[in-house]
């Protein structure tokens, strides 16, 4: 009897347990079953390709392989698992502790963990030969972003890299994956939403060994849009070459050069030197290499064309001139002296030339860049009005452009000074009227960027329209149809009458073409194109005399209907006509000798 009872009890326990699992917990366990069996695979969209204005590829996707592992499919036996990981470490070159750490961090046993990306065909081949023994591991074709292998494109293109934890937290609502690649700088970052495309997904039923058995459902990815930059790749390379040559011969490290179409704001070349090779980021830059870039004293990661801020120096004088004319403080035919220095408020303000240049009108004053002339004009206009005109020409506002990081610079005036004084609380702090004078020649606390300068020169060149700069000429959908080729509306019209602006333009023409012009005087070659220019030699690093100079050169051409404007800056380059102008002259030469190609549709 007792035996029968034991049998009945045991059998009943099994039956009750079976009911419990198959009826009571059926829903939960079946769901767990689906979860372990069906895995959602994210189909990453191909990133949009970036071309130059003629369709030359600048950033694309090269085939590459990634080694991934499905943690759940690894051998359950600890000894075999360890042996397998050791073998993977050997063939992939990823250290065993790193592998272990990757697996330990895996949030889900059924989500593949990326072990290594950017494997070349040879590396992938070597691994694939061992793959049959490495259960749970797989090789995935994941394209790697590659960039045109030329210098000087780094700052324009930028680069992509895997999201870090903080970026992921910010972007996950947009559907980004934890280790997804996204643009981090340049147009890669600025046009991320166009280039990224839309990820798809596939629900795969897999066996315990990680082999896909069938696709349950899927939504294919759509690739990103293609972007045709306004940049002319050949011109960009030439500009970069000329700039770097000039830096080398001047013995300095950094500079920037911009070529812009003053009719529509399209940038044809945008160079910041030194630059970097974006390719080193895409394969996962080593922290040592990244530290080298960060600690390089010439700051190659720093985009001087957009973010570099410098006093404009004499290149500012067109604004002082326009303000004087428009405010009625000076007429086109007013003649003022140009002494070697003037005394003001107990201080002496010098001209760049140590001698009296004689009486002159405004046009000539621009052409010869007479400081003492513009001290008087600035004084009569006043700091508040001068600042207002500076802002109308784009100063003090970061230009909107498809590359992140453009800076606003600084336009000082009494209000700004008052705010500064309040913040510092220094006794007797107030706007020194002498600052108005130096502001008139682009000094004081004025700060501008090469890009702001380019748009300012364009506005003078095109008759007063301040344009929004752009590096994009066209956006095309994956199918090839043009989505957008329109330019943004102009930022505004400068409040200068056409007649007054013409006086300023004439001053720039004389600067380039009159024998006394600073742009003519010091030029030693046969430059036969008409247009206008302005040199600048901006003091920096304090106040006083004999300070180091940043060399500026601004230029537009032709005079009648300008189609290019050029800005060249050489950091610490000395006189503008000395180091900056030759670069601009070579660029203009290149432009005119290749005009047909550059302007080809």
């Amino acid at each position: 009897m007792a035996g029968g009872l034991i049998v009945l009890l045991a059998v009943s326990a099994l039956a009750v347990r079976l009911v419990q699992l198959q009826v009571g917990q059926h829903g939960r366990l079946a769901a767990m079953g689906v979860e372990t069996r069906v895995h959602r695979l994210v189909l990453e969209a191909d990133r949009g390709v970036v071309y130059d204005r003629h369709g030359l590829q600048l950033a694309g996707n090269a085939p590459a392989w990634a080694l991934r592992v499905l943690p759940a499919a690894l051998p359950a036996d600890a000894v075999r698992r360890q042996a397998e990981l050791a073998e993977v470490a050997r063939v992939s070159g990823v250290a065993e502790p790193t592998l272990g750490a990757l697996l330990a961090k895996a949030p889900d046993l059924y989500l593949p963990v990326t072990v290594k990306t950017g494997l070349t065909a040879e590396q992938a081949q070597a691994i694939s030969e061992r793959l049959p023994e490495l259960t749970g591991f797989e090789l995935d074709r994941t394209p790697v972003r590659t960039y045109a292998d030329w210098p000087d494109f780094g700052h324009v293109l930028g680069y992509t890299n895997r999201l870090n934890a903080e970026e992921y937290a910010r972007l996950k609502t947009l559907g980004y994956l934890p280790d997804e690649t996204a643009g981090k700088a340049g147009v890669e970052a600025g046009l991320e939403s166009l280039l990224r495309g839309r990820n798809g997904w596939a629900d795969l039923e897999t066996s315990a060994a990680g082999l896909a058995v069938r696709t349950v459902a899927q939504d294919p990815a759509s690739p990103g849009d293609s972007v045709y930059l306004s940049i002319d790749a050949a011109l960009q390379q030439a500009v970069g070459q000329y700039l770097r040559d000039a830096l080398k011969s001047a013995g300095v490290r950094a500079g920037a050069a911009i070529v812009v179409d003053p009719r529509d704001g399209e940038l044809l070349a945008l160079v910041s030197a030194p630059s970097y090779d974006p390719n080193q980021f895409t394969a996962g830059i080593s922290s040592a290499a990244y530290q080298r870039l960060l600690q390089d004293p010439s700051k190659p990661l720093y985009d001087r064309a957009l973010a570099g801020l410098y006093p404009p120096g004499s290149t500012f004088k067109m604004i002082t001139a326009a303000a004087g004319l428009q405010e009625g403080r000076i007429a086109a035919d007013s003649v003022l002296p140009c002494p070697a220095s003037i005394a003001y408020g107990g201080w002496t303000y010098r001209n760049w030339a140590g001698y009296d240049m004689g009486p002159m009108n405004l046009e000539k004053a621009i052409a010869v860049s007479c400081d003492t002339f513009f001290y008087r004009v600035a004084d009569s206009v006043g700091d508040m009005a001068l600042a207002r005109y500076a802002r109308a020409f784009g100063y003090g506002t970061a230009p909107t452009i498809e590359i992140p990081g453009a800076q606003a610079g600084l336009v000082p005036d009494e209000d700004w000074q008052a705010a500064q004084c309040q913040a510092s609380g220094a006794p007797g702090c107030r706007w020194n009227p002498g600052e108005t004078l130096t502001m008139g020649i682009g000094q004081s606390a004025l700060l501008t960027s090469p890009l702001i300068q380019a748009m300012y020169v364009s506005a003078v060149a095109n008759g007063g329209t301040l344009l929004q700069p752009t590096v994009v000429s066209q956006v095309r959908a994956p199918g090839g149809q043009v989505i957008n080729s329109a330019h943004a509306a102009p930022v505004g019209a400068v409040p200068i009458s056409p007649a007054n602006l013409e006086v300023v333009r004439e001053g720039m023409r004389q600067c380039l073409q009159a024998p006394y012009g600073t742009g003519f005087l010091f030029r030693n070659d046969r430059f036969q194109y008409d247009g206008g220019c302005k040199t600048g030699s901006a003091q920096f690093g304090g106040s006083g005399t004999d300070l180091p100079l940043h060399a500026w050169f601004t230029f537009f051409s032709p005079y009648a209907n300008p189609e290019i404007a050029i800005v060249v800056l050489v950091e610490g380059g000395g006189e503008g006509h000395d180091t900056a102008e030759p670069v601009a002259v070579k660029i203009a030469d290149y432009y005119y000798s290749h005009r047909a190609q550059i302007r080809a549709a």
């Binding site: 007792a2 079976l18 366990l29 079946a30 079953g33 359950a76 315990a208």
Partner: protein
């Protein structure tokens, strides 16, 4: 059991007694074999083919064992016992390692799992020993323990915890059924209870680990706990009606570990659901009952102990195997009789069941009720299992 006028053939008769075969037991065995083959067909074709050859070989053996007069085994018992020890020692010396344990030896080119064969041999030996004693006292208990412990320990240290559990329960069950003094039985049980805390120290690393994982499967979801979790998912996915034969995805896609042997029940339960599961448990319960009935009608004490021991073996294996599949008992590798893939186990189980038929075939020519009484009176102190 049909009450049929028996032919006047006495005990020790030949094949003509086939009319009195335990038909119900034979039908259950056939049903279990079919269900097992169906499950193996669904989850692994190679295992199915191999098992099919096992069945083809095993059915004639089943019939031969039924025809064979089991009583002729009694005198051979000491030799069979010696053979069992030899086989188990052979594993220690020249065994193949699988799943971290030595369980197989190669005999004439065929892989044999000696612990499965030993199971049968030890049962015959112990039953023969006990059958010779009219009463079971302390002396007998000690002697039986002396006979039973060597094979049990040899199996335990292979290590094959599952078969060791079967041996231990066989030993205890036979003592109980042979009428050992209750005090002695209580003492043995108390001793086992005291020895239980020592178990972790006796177990091999992976066995100890399995025991810990049983207590908390999520401790190691990738390793040993994986088996438990996946088996439970498969069983639960079956629901009431099951996913249908050939449609159990967990089993088909390999998520169920050792899905042809230890965890074949999980695959079966996923495909055939609660109804199929209860059917299987019901079939095994009736099988144990039929073995108990066979014991009850046995013409002698040896036959009684043989069938009762067979019932204990089948019962222990079923409870331990299904128990670990549904997470009621710790994982200790043990096949589900007639269902799990494994030809050594299949053949020895079929011979065992055939021997039970041999006992039934040789029961005394009296009515069932009387036969039970005869069995009772013959052995005096026997308490019937049913």
């Amino acid at each position: 059991m049909p009450r049929r006028a028996a032919s006047p053939r006495g005990a020790g008769g030949g094949w003509r007694g086939a009319r009195r075969l335990d038909l119900a037991q034979a039908l259950i065995v056939a049903a279990l074999l079919v269900l097992g083959l169906m499950t193996l067909f669904s989850t692994s074709r190679p295992a199915f083919v191999s098992q099919l050859t096992g069945v083809a070989l095993g059915l004639p053996l089943f019939a031969a064992a039924a025809a064979f007069d089991y009583r002729r085994l009694q005198p051979a018992a000491p030799y069979l016992y010696g053979l069992a020890l030899l086989l188990l020692l052979a594993v220690e010396v020249a065994g193949h390692v699988a799943y971290g344990a030595q369980r197989w030896v190669r005999i004439a080119g065929i892989q044999v799992e000696p612990s499965e064969v030993a199971k049968l041999l030890v049962l015959v030996a112990l039953a023969a020993f006990l059958a010779r004693r009219e009463t079971v006292g302390r002396r007998e208990v000690l002697l039986l323990a002396g006979l039973g412990l060597p094979p049990t320990l040899l199996v335990l240290f292979q290590p094959d915890l599952g078969t060791a559990i079967v041996f231990a329960s066989l030993l205890l069950g036979l003592l109980f059924l042979a009428g050992a003094p209750r005090l002695v039985l209580a003492g043995v049980l108390a001793g086992l209870a005291l020895a239980a805390p020592l178990l972790p120290h006796l177990l091999h690393g992976y066995q100890r680990r399995r025991l810990q994982i049983f207590l908390d499967p999520t401790q190691d979801p990738l390793g040993a706990g994986y088996n438990l979790i996946q088996a439970r998912i498969a069983v639960g996915s079956g629901g009431i009606l099951g996913q249908g034969w050939l449609h159990g995805l967990q089993g088909q896609l390999g998520y169920v570990p050792e899905r042809t042997s230890d965890f074949v029940f999980a695959v079966y339960a996923e495909e055939f659901g609660l109804l199929g599961g209860l059917l299987l448990i019901g079939l095994f319960t009736v099988l144990v009952y039929r073995l108990a009935r066979a014991a009850a009608v046995a013409p002698d004490r040896f036959g009684f102990l043989l069938c009762a021991g067979a019932a204990v073996i089948v019962f222990t294996q079923v409870v331990q195997n299904i128990g670990m599949n549904v997470g009621l008992t710790p994982i200790a590798g043990i096949p589900l009789p007639l269902i799990s893939h494994g030809r050594s186990a299949l053949l020895s189980d079929l011979v065992l069941l055939g021997l039970a038929q041999s006992v039934v075939l040789r029961r005394p020519l009296v009515s069932e009720r009387a036969a039970a009484r005869v069995a009772l009176t013959e052995s005096g102190t026997i308490r019937l299992p049913v």
